[in-house]
Amino acid sequence: MPKPTDLLQGTLDLLILKTLALEPMHGWGIVLRIQQTSGEILQVQPGSLYPALHRLEHQGWIGAKWADTDAGRRAKYYSLTRAGRTQLEKETEQWLRLSGAVTSLLGVV
């Protein structure tokens, strides 16, 4: 098993927001989704995921609701708020600028 890549500070927020932009999801679902879409490269630890979720919730970017899973279990589903959507756009743009800069830097060298 490859060693999970450490996530850059603030990147986790972006990943969570992006993941939730598709549909409301519980914490475990977010972990799975990030793992799958990144091809198992990005692994999110519960120790960082949940504090981040709670922070985003208290900042008002995501909302939470208790609902039943397909298997009939109660779980806390997070969804993007309107403010969260704006934030996602802002952070995506920032990320693209940053990664673009890094890529071009690496390309030059």
């Binding site: 914490g27 519960p46 709670h54 708020t81 403010a83």
Partner: protein, 926 residues
Amino acid sequence: MTTRFPQRILLALRSFVRHGTAERELDLELQFHLEQMAAHETTRGASNEEANLRARRRFGGFNHGFNQVKEACRDMRTLRPVEHFLQDLRFGARLLWRGPVFALVAVLSLALGIGANSAIFSVINAIVLRPLPVEAANELFIAEAVSPDGVSPRFSYPLVGAASSLLGGRAEVCAQSTIQPMLIAAIHSGPSSPAPAAGRVQLLSGDCFAMLRQRPQLGRLLGPSDNVTRGGHPVVVISDGYWSRRFARSPSAVGTEIVINGTAMTIVGVTAPDFFGMEVETRGADAWAPVMMQSELRYSGNLSNANGDPNKPWVEQSELSWLNLMLRVPKTHAGTAAGVAAALNVALQQDFAAMSGYDTDAEFRERLRGVQATLRPGARGFSDLRNRLAKPLLVLLAMVGLVLAVACANLASLLLARATHRQREVAIRLSMGAGRGRLVRQLFTESLLLALLGGVGGLVAAIWGSAALVRFGESDGASFGINVTPDGHVLLFTLAVSIVTGLLFGLLPAFRATDLRLADTLKAQARAVAGGARSGASWSRRLIAGQMAFSLLLLVVASLFGRNLRQMMRVDVGFDRQHLLVAQLDARSAGYESKDLPSLERRLLERVLAVPGVEAASMSANGPFSGSRSTSGFEAQGYTHPREERLRTREEVVTPGYFRTVGLKILRGRGFLPEDVAEGRKVTVVNQTFARRYFAGRDPLGQRWSYDTDFGPDAFEIVGVVADAHYDDVKGDSPNMAYRPAAQTDWYLDSLEVRTSRDPAALVSTVRAAFRDTEPRLPIDRIDTLDERVSRSMGQERMMTWLTGVFGAVALALACLGLYGTVSHAVTRRTAELGIRMALGADHAAVRWMILREALLVVVRGLAVGLPLAFFGARALRSVLQGVDAFDLPSYGLAIVALVAIATLAAYFPARRASRLDPATALRAD
């Protein structure tokens, strides 16, 4: 962005208020994750057990990791700091609960300290700070006439009229008389109806209630149409208090007729419950009547008279100044206060020009031209009480502040001692990674909790204390016109004091308790045997020394007040205090006319002289220590003085037996005789000071004084010189006084003096009864022995002595309790050391002295700081303490002796315990 605020706030509140739900949900959420993770592992082929283990590991270990994640989530909550605070509060409360004695002592001493501060502040708030309870009180101004002679707040009624018409539209003008006691009776008085009772009546001009923006709670108030023609408006408005007392709040009171000083008046309304007029005094008015009714109500109060006739109606005379003036200058007319004062000045000069003698007497005219009308802010109303009490109250506030500081220092040293006991707990928590800031915050929260509990207790104490303070200051303890119950300001003050208190006594112990280096040193020292510099102990010594210093200051102030009072009590008032009964009458209110007076006086004196045990009796206009006085401007024959200087003298009008009755010795010439009749030569007797001041080096007998510069037959010829006396208080020197015989004036004699052969108090009821027989129409307002009156005149000094004494004693008691605690603690800590000393041959006395000496050293350090403090304190009090020097050595001696004696006693008990230690046991200790 704004849309997310409601959600954020809701969430913040929800996870705070419904804390349990939030916790449960957090647990469920993480549990769910754990299960899903385990289930995921099983799909990868792990056994159930293995899957659980892996999931747990991913969470960072078993319970520990799980809890860490939870704590990290909690830390994301918006109101997390508040949660911490509440946690600390709960922890603190539990701790206090576990040490109830400490908690009780701490809270009680704080409640006492804070309560004393709040009580005195609430009286200051009510008397000194609070504006009148009327709309836009800051628009109110008080008018005063300023002249080289001084400041006078009194004006004539014609001036009020002139000012109102000149200022129309720019300012509202209201005139009020003083509040006078008057006889109030029911209209249909039969033989069974109760005797007329005294009520307090104030006269107001027509615009007053409108200017004060008042609404009635029943009926109507007085308006401009109620004050138009002299004697034509028999209407009164009564106060809420009077309505309760006399009419049991019956609506039928409105429309009822009552008789005030013989004139039937109709009650037209009741003022609002919180209205007490414009005067902040302990007792307000019961009823308000129009100024135009002055003559009919036989109103007579403080008066400045320039050639007027007080026996004629006052409202028509520019010569009589008797009304206070309050103006409302609307804030909308910015900057008009100066303009209003100028207009008032024009009205004032117009009024002067109408005075008799203005055209003929150039000097008089010149003097009047120098008078200027000025305005000063009137939001807080008129108040003699404030003038009298503001300074003493501030002194008291400073003193209770010091008492509270002593209580704080005391608690701080208690907490320091506890901090050493809690060192282990603190050390463990610090080593487990708790931040020092968090620990300081927690310890400080405990102090704050104590302080707030003390504040709540203090507020209760203040409600009781402020009422007691006012009752204490008021000699006759009647109903209060002002409300001193704590209001919002007092609440805020108490809260602020509590928090500052908590900071004061809590910060030092909190920082010291969490000082790890200190924990190490203490650990090391616990094993060491010898003493040496212990920083914790040196701090608590500093605190004790500080308490001693403040206590000394308070004790010195208390002794100064005590010696001041003693000094005053020893003053020879000149009158015979032991054998004199004095009664206050009001023949004018009872309806006697000037022509009835000679026969009334004769009848009364004859009847009183017939009472067994009465040696002599007399009557006078004011009477000794009665609180009323007459003062006149005058000229003395052959005495030249600068023109600006106006001579003024006290005046008293007496019956022939007066000097013998009150015990004033005649030093030269003679007293008054029955032969000094109205038609005879105008005679006068002056006191020593008068003779010395105006007839220095001359024989005063045969000289004259006069109200003007004419020393002809209308002037008064001095026929005797009588000993000086203190006429209404014992402070300062005797003023100059001139006596005139009653037969040569038409003055009402309001005082009766009775000289008795035995204890005058025993004759009170007999004299009262004799009075009732001869003159049932004339009730006695007050009857006391002169001794009672003299002591009552020192009521304020007595109150200050008593209170400063109590505060000094409380501070000393607290400081000595602190000393006792600290020395006891030291003895316990040094048990091993003491054991060694004793084993090496130190005897009981040596050990006792060693401990005692260390304690006394702290006391001496306190004295060294406290003495200069006390000097400064005493100097600042010079204006309040006139009878005693600021460097009065006996006061300092007394304070030092008391402090050292009590402190020695406090340190002696632990020292004795130390000397009685058994060396064998002591060595094994610790």
